[in-house]
Every structure is written in C-alpha cells, then in structure tokens.
C-alpha cells in the first residue's frame, strides 16, 4: 500500500473533463494527462522511462540494410467515422508509409495538438484506438508530445506520427523503379475510406454501410516481398488523391506511362452508388488500407497469389501495365469500351452540381 493518501490525488475526470490550457503548460496537469491517458494506453518500456526522448539500441542491421523514416500529420474531419477514427488512422498511415518502402516498421512517435475544450472522453477513445492499432501492428509508440491550442485554433485533435523501419538488404522499392511492361497490381476495392468519411460530414450525412478500410499493411507487404524476391519494384498506398493520383505520381517519377483496364479495378457497389450520387469518381477517393504494387512481369503471378492469400489482399487484382510514354499519361480502357486519360486530381474533388 502506498503511504500517500488517496484523497490527495484527484484523478483525471475522463468522463466529464475537457482539455484546458493547463494540459499543455508543462505543469502538473500536463504530467497527469500524459500519465493517466497516454502512458496508460500506450504503455511500454521506453515510455515508462519518462524521458524526453526514447533511448534505444539501433537494430542489428545486416550489411546492405537501410533505415527508413516517415512522418505524417492527420487532420481528418470528422474525427470519428464508420470503421475508424483519427487515432487508428494515425498509426496505420505511418506504418503504411514505412511499409511502402518495403520496410519492417519498428517504432512510432506521436505528437498531439489538442484544442482547448475538447472532451477528455473523446480523446480517450482516440488514444485507446491508437493504442490498439499500434499493438495489433506490433509497432510501439515510444515517445511523443502534447500541446494545447486555444479554443477555435484547432479542429479538436491533430495527430502527427513518425515511424522508423528497416529495409532488408536486396529490397529496392521506389516510385522511380517502374519500367515499361511491368504489371500494376491493386490489393483490393477502392474508395471505402473516403466515402465512409464523407458520409459523416455535416450537411452531407447519408446512410451507408460502408466502413473505412483503414489498416496496417506491413504484413501484406512482407508476404509479397517474400513471394517474389526482387520482383516488386514500386509500392504505394493510394491515400489522398486516390488511385488515380498515386499512379500519376509513379508514372512521373518513373518517366513512364500506364494503361489501365477499368473493368479490372475492384469497387464495391455501395461505393459506386455513393459516388454516383455525389458526382465523384472512385478513382480519386482516398483509401487507407490498400496498396498498389508494380512488379516485374515474371513476378506478377507470384505476387498476386501471395496477396490473395493474405486477408488484406483477398480482392487483389491485376489492373494494368506500365507503358512507354514520354508524356507519362495514365490512360484507361473504360468498361464502356472507350479510352480516356486518368489525370491528376486538380484541386479538391468537389461534388458536381448538375
């Protein structure tokens, strides 16, 4: 039994409390928030040390291995949406950014910018979801930071996460590696995340069963790399800007073109219907749990089979090929029988009015 009288410590009132400026001031309130909310949820040996930084021995790297570091800010609105929230998103997003280099993610850091007045109960939901996501992914959050901004100067909660990972020797994955003749693979149906978030937007709320696809993809990546060593040349998760924008980025980096087959691109009928209603194109809608892989032609079958064997790649498909094209056009044979350019998204994708 501790000799400290219980009555002297007033625990954080998570049920009714709100973030106030004191939680960011570095005093007792800040320490209490960190201890009772963040440490309790993320608990691991590094955080328990209670230092400003996490001190760890570098992983034993075989010759030719490299480190990869990725960072990402998460500002989704609304903060909670069907299938997820900003918390799990902030873990999955960064784990995936690390994994898209073909790396095994090791550690995460997290920085929170909280708005004065934000309910602690909601913050706890977010933090718990983050903790669960990090535990499931096997990637601990080993250091972090919390700041509070005045009411009206933030959007509830902003989270930035940074991830560290290791790329095994011999793995060479980069957006500039695609070559004419390579095969474009997609791990599953597109558009769920964006539509799930849109369905919750004020003024747009519509009934839907669509859930965000947010998830960590590093085990899928590991399975793909193992299936065809050296065969995967490019990996990308088509988040903001959707599949279309991601493929355009790769085409430009690789100085090549692409020819897609619309009929091969998997889209859930519900997503199709919602997009139809809003005048949006699923090709431009954000995903949080899908990846595209560009593979050497001889490796494509093995990689596709490995994807389909993994729970996150059941609906994987071969959607196109890399072409030689000095203009770096991403083109598509439409299901209807015509052909079109699949261009960069210009500006924000906005619903059409007529």
């Amino acid at each position: 039994m501790s000799p400290v009288k219980i009555a002297y410590i007033r625990p954080l009132d998570i049920r009714h409390g709100c973030i106030d400026m004191g939680h960011g001031a570095g005093g007792r309130a800040a320490a209490q928030l960190i201890e009772e909310l963040f440490l309790a949820a993320f608990d691991n040996e590094f955080l328990r040390q209670g230092n400003d930084g996490a001190v760890f021995a570098p992983p034993a790297l075989p010759p030719g291995a490299r480190l990869v570091m990725a960072t990402d800010g998460h500002v989704v609105s609304p903060l909670f949406f069907p299938g997820g929230d900003v918390g799990c998103l902030s873990v999955h997003g960064t784990v995936n950014d690390v994994a898209m280099s073909g790396a095994t993610p090791l550690y995460l850091t997290a920085s929170f910018i909280l708005e004065e007045g934000y309910p602690l109960a909601d913050l706890k939901r977010i933090v718990d979801s983050m903790a669960q996501a990090s535990r499931e992914a096997g990637v601990p959050i080993i250091t972090g930071d919390t700041k509070v901004v005045e009411r009206g100067k933030g959007d509830g909660v902003f989270i930035s996460t940074t991830g560290l990972g290791v790329v095994a020797p011999g793995v060479d994955i980069a957006g500039s590696n695609a070559r004419p003749g390579d095969v474009v693979l997609l791990s599953g149906t597109i558009g769920e995340h964006g539509v799930a978030v849109l369905s919750q937007r004020e003024s747009l709320e519509f009934e839907t069963t669509i859930e965000s696809d947010t998830c960590a993809l590093h085990t899928l990546v590991a399975a793909m790399l193992q299936a065809a060593p050296g065969g995967v040349r490019v990996l990308r998760d088509p988040t903001r800007g959707g599949l279309a924008t991601t493929l355009n980025e790769v085409a430009r980096q690789s100085r090549a073109g692409m020819m897609l087959q619309e009929s091969a691109i998997p889209v859930l009928p519900e997503v199709d219907a919602a997009c139809e209603l809003l005048g949006l194109d699923p090709l431009y809608i954000a995903n949080e749990g899908k990846l595209i892989a560009i593979c050497a032609p001889e490796a494509a079958d093995a990689v596709l089979a490995a994807m389909r064997d993994h729970p996150q790649g059941r609906a994987a498909a071969r959607i196109g090929v890399v072409t030689e094209d000095a203009h770096h056009f991403v083109q598509m044979n439409t299901r209807f029988g015509g052909r079109r350019v699949v261009d960069w998204l210009s500006g924000e994708q906005l619903p059409r009015i007529c």
Binding site: Q261, H327, T334, R340, S346, C354
Partner: protein, 381 residues
C-alpha cells in the same frame, strides 16, 4: 446499381457503335453539339469520342453552369464576403472559378471571407436560420435544374419571414443560349456554325420539357435529341441524330422518355415564374451578353434579392485576350486551336472559362482526352 449498370453496358455500346459505323455516310461530316456539361462529362469519362466513327465529331457546348459564370458575377460574391462580411453559401464547383485580382471564392475564404460550400439551396437557408445575427447570401448558379430549389428556398424564407437571407441570382436559361449560338453576331465573325444537331440536356428537360426545343427544329432546321446522362443514352442519341441527318429530318426526339415529357414539370415551372422574371440581358462567360438568357428575382421578393439588398452594381470583366472560349463554345474551334491550351491555361490555372470545371470543353479535353493528340504505344494489358 443494376438500374445504372444497364445504361453502361459495354456490349450494347459496341453494338450501337457498329450500327453507327454502318449508317454514317462516309463522304459526310457530322458534328453535333452536346449542350450540357453532364453529357460532356459522360463523353469524356467513358471515352465515347473514341467509339464514334471518325467523321462524327462531338462539340462541347456552353452547358456547364460553372464555366459560363462571368468573372464579374464571382467578383460580386467575393465582395459580399470580404467587404460586407456576409456568409456566402454556394455549390462546391463554384469555389474554384477564377475571378478578378487572381482571386476565387476559395482564395477569398483563405483571406477571411466566410464562404461555405453547400449541397442545396435549402442548406443555405438552414445556415441563415442558425445565424440570425448574420447576413447570409446564397450564390445561386445553374440552369433550369437548379432554379426550382432556389425558388423554393426564397418562398420558404418569405413564409418564415427570415430577415437575414438573400440570393445572388445567376440562374441562366438553356434555350436562349442555344439560340444565341445559332444566330449571334459572332456567328458571322467566326463563320458558319458547323453544327448538324444538338444532344438536348437531360435534367434541364425534366423541368422544362421537350417543347422549348421545337423552335430549333422548326426555325433552324436543327435536329434535337434529348438524352440522359448515361453513356448509352449519349451513344443512342448520336445514332438518332445521324439518322435524322441522313433522312433530312429536323425534329425534336426524346431518347430520355423514361423521364422527360413534352410539358415538363408544370409545378416547378409555376414556382419558378412566381419568384423569378427574365433579365433583358445577361453576360455569359465566353458568349458575352445574351438577351433574355437569365433570371432575376421579381420585385415583390426584392428583400431576398442580394443585388437590391446590398445595392450591388455589376461590372463586366474582360476575359484574357488569348482565350478562344467564344469560338470553342460555338463549335467553331477545338480546344487545341487555342495557343495557350495546356501550357498557360490548365485546370490548375484556368485562364478561360472552358478550363474551369471538368465539364468545360477545354478541361474535358485536357483531363480525359489529350492522349488523342499524341500517338500511344501500348493498347491493352
């Protein structure tokens, strides 16, 4: 989705394509204008131009409400937000249209204007109800399709005696624009309009019916086929137009009879004429002043007319000199004929009106069709 898939069936499309190829007369050039942005969008998105015989050319008309909005009108909306401090509500597409002084509604918002994207006129009304201490203006744009909801919002505002709601009315009319294309003074300047017929608007026609187009078939001997926005609708409409041309007919036909009648929606028409009256003239971006082509709010509803309420004066602003929009919207030139197409003028940085929304002729060609200007190596996977 079954209902929609039926109108996107590639096999049927190929059959219509084959029939078209059989029926077009090889020695003849056919060019048809699809007036409506929705059709331009379908043609681009499904790659329909590729499936038509080479001597059938589709001309993108001025039917994108965002593209035809003149700079001066957007300037008014920006002025309301930045100078009068009102909450300006508008449809999403409108936010990006370039205005004077390198501004747009998006940029005015970044400068502190309270500008909100809404999905309907009713949403704007709701914002007015929730902010009784602020002035709320709905920046209303669009063709006959979006006009009835604006009229309804004004009537509801009047019934609820809302004191802080008004509308900056920029609603325009389809038939007057088509007439203007066929007989404006510029036609002489640009040369004869090489248009053999029109694909008539879908949603607009649900409201106004097919009757207003009879004028074009009777007076101008131009066939009109009203068509839905699905790609098969468009293919079918082109086939029907080709047949009319071949047979020397000029009639209004209705491919979209599953929804469009000759009279249209009389109730909606009555509501619109209760609230609105014709403007004697209205400037269109790319077309200039078009007589009797737009609506304004009737004097009896003047308190809901932002132009009266804030004593706004319209100032026309000239388009960039290099811009060929006028010729393009009339079907006299193609987007690639414009010297600044794709270089100075791009969807990120539109100079002229046709580059503003994906339904505009230049933006549609840039975003979906520019591969056609350049030979491509690989055809399929």
């Amino acid at each position: 989705m079954k209902y929609i898939d039926e109108f996107r069936d590639g096999d049927i499309a190929r059959k219509i394509g084959a029939r078209l190829a059989e029926e077009v007369q090889p020695a003849r050039q056919y060019s048809f204008m699809e007036f409506c942005g929705g059709h331009t969008h379908a043609i681009s998105r499904y790659g329909i131009a590729e499936m038509l015989p080479p001597n059938v050319r589709m001309v993108h008309g001025p039917g994108c409400p965002v593209c035809v909005l003149p700079i001066g009108r957007i300037d008014l909306a920006i002025k309301l937000a930045l100078e009068f401090g009102v909450i300006v509500c508008t449809y999403g597409d409108t936010m990006r249209v370039p205005a004077s002084n390198s501004l747009s509604l998006v940029k005015a918002k970044a400068r502190g204007g309270d500008i909100r994207m809404v999905y309907s006129a009713a949403d704007a009304l709701e914002i007015a109800r929730q902010n009784p201490e602020r002035e709320v203006v709905f920046f209303a744009i669009g063709f006959e399709t979006t006009t009835p909801p604006t009229a309804l919002a004004i009537r509801d505002a009047q019934r609820a005696q809302l004191k802080n709601f008004s509308v900056l009315c920029c609603h325009v009319l389809t038939p007057s624009a088509i007439t203007h294309i066929l007989e404006s003074p510029e036609v002489r300047q640009y040369g004869t309009v090489p248009i053999d017929g029109f694909v008539g608007p879908a949603h607009v026609s649900i409201v106004i019916g097919s009757q207003p187009y009879e004028h074009f078939s009777d007076e101008y001997r131009k066939p009109v086929v009203i068509a839905g926005f699905e790609p098969l609708d468009v293919m079918q409409a082109v086939l029907m137009l080709v047949r009319q041309v071949n047979e020397g007919r000029a009639e209004v036909e209705n491919e979209f009879s599953r929804v469009v009648s000759r009279e249209g929606n009389l109730q909606a028409q009555a509501l619109v004429s209760e609230i609105f009256e014709l403007r004697t003239t209205f400037e269109w971006r790319g077309l200039g002043e078009v007589p009797y082509s737009a609506l304004k709010i009737r004097p009896s509803y003047a308190q809901f007319d932002a132009e009266c309420r804030f004593d706004l004066r319209y100032q026309p602003v000239a388009d960039n000199k290099a811009c060929e929009c006028g010729a393009i919207l009339r079907g006299v030139k193609k987007p690639t004929d414009c010297k600044i197409f794709g270089t100075v003028c791009t969807p990120e940085n539109p100079v002229g009106s046709c580059m503003v929304s994906s339904e505009g002729a230049c933006a549609a060609h840039y975003s979906y069709g520019r591969f056609r200007d350049i030979p491509v190596v690989v055809e399929s996977i």
